[in-house]
Symmetry: C2
Subunit: 523 residues, 2 copies
């Protein structure tokens, strides 16, 4: 009996040990590895919150803060509910009649063109699938274009943006073509430059059934691949997922300066090859040894065929960015970024050597008045968060003059390296020591654990059909970089004082009313 | 008491189940995955050995066969010890006096050139490291060149080959330059073709202290990367490890038609940049963002800078292939492979459609007599084992006329996919149903477990400083492909009979004596 008990005790000990060793420990181990590194951020957050020199409502997380959607809570926060001013005609980019007229002309030109093309195609034995197109006065892209104002590309709760994202994801493609960039080259290849910041000529312009236009950038890199450390930023591949993530990040930062971007699986045969009217585009299609449909970069055709992308067998994932209104009705100008990089192997720009570079810039038109320099600093914050070093130019709508917002176009070279924080991207902020009050407030909000940039980004990106858009290391990098931005501001404030660093960005009458509304709400 | 026993029984059952589930099963699982798949080969071997219609000595493995070096045992086998005929002057590629004369002239031209260059360099402030060079009548490369005969590039136990491999691995580099291929382009880029089978212009010609010349091909791909399935064979990257492995495979097959190749870590700064006298080569060097020394492909310079290779920070691994004697003293001709591929996206060659293609080839000069067609079949076996689809041309020394052996040059597109056996590479064998008796005997030997191609290759490649040269899946693929070759021969024999399929390849007087020696030894 005693022996049996002893044996039983020994046996139970063995079972418990086995349980601990084989079940509990591995579970703990797995849990430690899959946890998206919240611990590190907690300590950083508390470090930052001890420096909240601008008081924000509800900074201590309550129970209710940790359930439900963080993104909904973010967008419900007073900072994201500042009432927009009523827009007069001068503050809108386009007038309804003007755009409708433009649209109607486009539709009738398309119909004329299609009739002629069909006859020519039949004569040369080319089969092109013809989809019906329709003039739709309620099209989401029309509403997007009509909603562009002096302040942003779209307003915060515009249902047309949600609809436009959905349309880009699933609307029938009626035409595919090269983009204007490619066409400008006329197949000649601009080889005069060592580098071609314009990318690899694999992007396509797609037209949807309701005449929405979108630019397709195909997937070139797996989500978990990092840019090799020897690759210069200007020859890095363009990442479709970076385009998608940039739209979401820009919206979460409340800039709203990136046109809507959605992911889509494109059928290269049915949605490009069979609908294009461009013989040159048709000519770059081929079938790979693995029987997949592929197309290659036109400009590099002569020497290189590796620059091809392939479907499986026809489906290829990519990003679709909504087109802005045509230049003929909404002209834009492209201006070199004062903090442009050298785009050569050895060159260095003045800002890289001269710590007082910003003082020079501050004296120069248009950076010597208005919001332009603060807008450049906003852009550098946006780019630093993404790790995008390829911001050589920026664009503005000419209609709004020098005070217009900067468009954050072409973000495909962001999100290349999650393990590196390229501090030089922040040079405009760290050299000028200026930031908009509204931007700083939002950044501080996003650094708090009840919102947390990585969490709201993860949630926002989950809405895209190609999700997951960013890997966890890229999401964590956003939190880490956000804290680095706040630390740069902190250092500036220590050196120069709050008043010189933090600018009231609410200039002009309309913005004063915004500021009033905000302070009213904050009470 | 009873209850206790029941509990004990239950407990023990749980322990045993836990033991089986957590310890035994995972062990079994691991064992199955780590075992280098010998079982499959065993059964294949026995399948093949039941079909040994040509009796070989010592086919049953004894105890002694499984210890020590398989490679030594292979090279000690009678099949690898057929005595070579005494070579007359007409059977040697070069005569001693002729080569010494050529070498002396080269040295004095180098000295003249260097004197002039040093003056010019000093005037234009270029610092070039100058190493002493010496005329060495015992140089291993000289002995290699002198050993080239009508039958092979080197004899089986030539100590000069071992010395040449060692010299290429560690001798001081006195000069680096573009290869003649690049120079012929004169920087103009031959973009008239869609594809450039000549590769990516990253290869360099290196001159050693004793005037040995070798072609350097840098590492472009990790050992465990497989060629993506959508990539056409003709745009695949060139692999330095394939060049090294091809030399070892060719020697193990006893063809000896690949010039010696060794791996080396090259110092891009000290052994290329600082010793080159070519300004154009110097101009393609740059420092990467990660502070590594890199150089990029000259021809693609204008548009593409991604085509660069980088050291860490200076050291770059690559293959060094010994140069053959210059064309002025040992002319060669390059002849299109009758089984050439189309080198286009859609084209198909006649051999791919016409199963009777070989009948046509057999009628045509030079394939209608001598060993030429059998040599082509040898080459296809070599290429099939490596998975090399890029054999567009082959070269022969003009001195030996139509009966000379075929040079197996440029093997860098082999070993791209271990998981695929491209049967079309074997078309010359499967369509002509002919094979040299000596080749077949060696293939059968290498299929036996006491030698086993993968084992002797692994052993041979371990001697290279860059080892491991091939991953295990590539080594296993060799065994699998070898058995496929033997099965193709087996099918031919069944269909046409031994006599029509297996050719006595010992033609001409000298070879008769070889055959005699062989039969004597086999007794």
């Amino acid at each position: 009996m005693r022996k049996d008990r002893l044996l039983l005790a020994a046996t139970l000990t063995v079972i418990f040990s086995a349980d601990i060793y084989f079940i509990l420990l591995p579970k703990l181990h797995r849990a430690r590895h899959s946890c998206p590194c919240r611990h590190g951020n907690f300590s950083l957050s508390s470090h930052i919150s001890s420096w909240t020199f601008i008081p924000l409502q509800d900074t201590t997380p309550s129970e209710a803060d940790n359930v439900g959607s963080k993104l909904d809570r973010l967008f419900a926060h007073p900072l994201y509910n500042i009432q927009a001013p009523v827009l007069g005609p001068e503050e809108r980019l386009l007038q309804v009649e003007q755009l409708m007229d433009y649209y109607r002309k486009k539709v009738s030109r398309w119909e004329r063109h299609m009739k002629l093309y069909s006859e020519a195609a039949a004569a040369s034995n080319i089969t092109v699938v013809e989809h019906d197109v329709a003039f739709d006065p309620d099209a989401s892209w029309l509403k997007f274009h009509l909603g562009i104002s002096r302040y942003a590309l779209y307003s915060r709760r515009d249902p047309a943006i949600t609809q436009l994202l959905r349309d880009m994801q699933d609307m029938t493609v009626v035409n595919a073509d090269y983009t204007q960039d490619e066409k400008a080259l006329k197949g000649a290849c601009d080889c005069s430059q060592v580098v071609k910041p314009s990318g690899h000529h694999l992007k396509l312009a797609l037209k949807m059934q309701n005449f929405a236009k979108a630019m397709f950038k195909p997937m070139r890199q797996q989500r978990d691949e990092e840019t090799p450390e020897d690759v210069f930023y200007f020859v890095d591949v363009q990442r479709h997922n970076a385009e998608i993530a940039a739209f979401h990040l820009d919206r979460i930062l409340d800039f709203r300066r990136v046109p809507p971007v959605a992911g889509r699986w494109l059928n290269l045969t049915g949605e490009v090859l069979q609908v294009t009217r461009n013989d040159e585009l048709r000519a770059v299609f081929f079938t790979s040894p693995a029987n997949n449909t592929c197309f290659f970069a036109k400009c590099l055709y002569v020497c290189k065929t590796e620059y091809a992308v392939c479907g499986t067998p026809d489906l290829l994932e990519g990003s679709l960015s909504a087109y802005l209104p045509g230049l003929s009705i909404a002209p834009r100008i492209s201006i070199p970024n004062p903090w442009i990089r050298s785009y050569s192997f050895t060159g260095r720009e003045e800002w890289e050597m001269n710590p007082l570079y910003c003082d020079t810039i501050k004296q120069l038109y248009p950076y010597n008045s208005g919001n332009r320099l603060l807008n450049i600093i906003d852009m550098s914050i946006f780019d630093f968060l993404m790790g995008n070093m390829d911001r050589h130019h920026y664009e503005i709508f000419t209609k709004f003059g020098d005070d217009g917002f900067l468009l954050h176009l072409d973000n495909a070279r962001g999100f290349g390296k999650h393990s590196q924080d390229e501090m030089s991207i922040l040079a405009p902020l760290s050299q000028c020591c200026m930031i908009k009050r509204s931007t700083l407030l939002r950044l501080q909000l996003l650094a708090q654990t009840q919102f947390q940039l990585s969490d709201v980004m993860r949630e926002s990106l989950q809405k895209d059909p190609l999700q997951p858009i960013l890997t966890e290391p890229h999401l964590s990098a956003l939190d880490r970089r956000l804290h680095k931005i706040l630390r740069v501001v902190q250092r500036c404030v220590r050196r120069l004082g709050k008043d010189r660093v933090i600018s009231s960005d609410f200039v002009k009458s309309t913005l004063k009313s915004e500021a009033k509304t905000e302070s009213k709400k904050a009470r």
